[in-house]
């Protein structure tokens, strides 16, 4: 199940968007509103999943749509790329730029974790049993993973987010980020190594609790 683009337009909707794209290109503000209404949920979800901790989804979405309208002349439906996919690509790269612009990556401390999140972190750090599945357990896992991933360098974070949390294919990620497939694989490998280092560091902060 993909967390992010489940709202991407169907081919029929995509065809319906085409005239609005043409009109927005000529400066029609009503057409721009139609495009924003159709694509805002997708852009919001991408921003939500991949944004830096201190930037709001709405600010990122605003930035994404600004870039979309700036570059509307460069979009060509004949290139075979659906409009929604083109927008998703701009959104992903905008999030990556925002992550790069972060001056300092946030620190992760055990004390900052909510109860359910700490259980999941403990599960990753040591061989404790998987926390029981409850209504809030999935959300806690997601929040904890976002906090853990935010400690990685931006590109590493983006790759693991898209590969493991959104279950995207390597080809898809390569297309979204403008990288080669082999670069995606190499970066994912390195990101996993870095993640292990972070987890080992977290283990050292709480050796007593994790041994038991």
């Amino acid at each position: 199940m993909r967390e992010v683009d489940s709202v991407e337009c169907t081919p029929a909707e995509e065809t319906n968007l085409a005239p609005w794209v043409e009109r927005a290109r000529c400066g029609d503000e009503a057409a721009a509103s139609v495009l924003v209404d159709a694509l805002y949920p997708m852009v919001w979800r991408i921003a939500r999943a991949r944004r830096p901790v201190r930037v709001s989804e709405e600010d990122l979405a605003q930035d994404v749509f600004k870039k979309v309208f700036e570059r509307l002349d460069q979009y060509s439906a004949r290139g075979g790329i659906p409009f929604a996919h083109w927008v998703a690509r701009i959104a992903t790269r905008t999030c990556l730029d925002a992550l790069r612009a972060e001056r300092r990556r946030p620190e992760l401390r055990w004390a900052d974790m909510a109860e359910g999140e700490a259980d999941w972190l403990q599960h990753i750090c040591s061989a404790t049993a998987e926390p029981a599945q409850s209504s809030g357990s999935g959300k806690a896992a997601r929040e904890m993973l976002h906090k853990l991933l935010s400690m990685l360098p931006p590109k590493d974070r983006m790759v693991l987010q898209m590969l493991d949390l959104e279950e995207r294919s390597v080809k898809d990620i390569a297309s979204m980020l403008g990288w080669s497939a082999s670069l995606v694989k190499v970066r994912a490998f390195r990101a996993r190594l870095r993640l292990k280092q972070i987890v080992n560091k977290l283990k050292l902060e709480r050796p007593d609790e994790l041994d038991g």
Binding site: E29, A32, V36, W44, F69, H123, K139, L165
Partner: protein, 98 residues
């Protein structure tokens, strides 16, 4: 004992099963703002381009004026340009053989 990769995958699987958050409605005037920002940004880029071109043209014109003025001053000062004489001397030095 399961590996860290396996435990990571357990956690990622649980995260994927969490219910999706519903996006809020599009804020009022959002599209209009985005489009106007885009337009302003494009206009700024065009203005920046013209400003850069104007600056370069101004710098070129200033250099040309300074060069023309110095050449004029040189000619009016009455000193003949010594270049031909220097060139003759150089040729003689090169061709000279004991």
């Amino acid at each position: 004992m399961n590996s860290m990769d396996e435990r990571w995958n357990n956690c990622a699987r649980a995260a994927r099963t969490a219910p999706q958050e519903t996006p809020p409605p599009v804020p009022l005037g959002f599209a209009l703002r985005a489009m106007r920002d885009a337009r302003a940004s494009t206009e700024n880029t065009t203005l920046d381009l013209w400003a850069a071109l104007s600056r370069r043209a101004l710098a070129f014109a200033a250099t040309a004026i300074v060069l023309a003025a110095s050449l004029l001053w040189w000619e009016e000062s009455g000193d003949a340009i010594a270049t031909p004489a220097l060139a003759d001397e150089a040729i003689q030095q090169v061709l000279w053989q004991p």
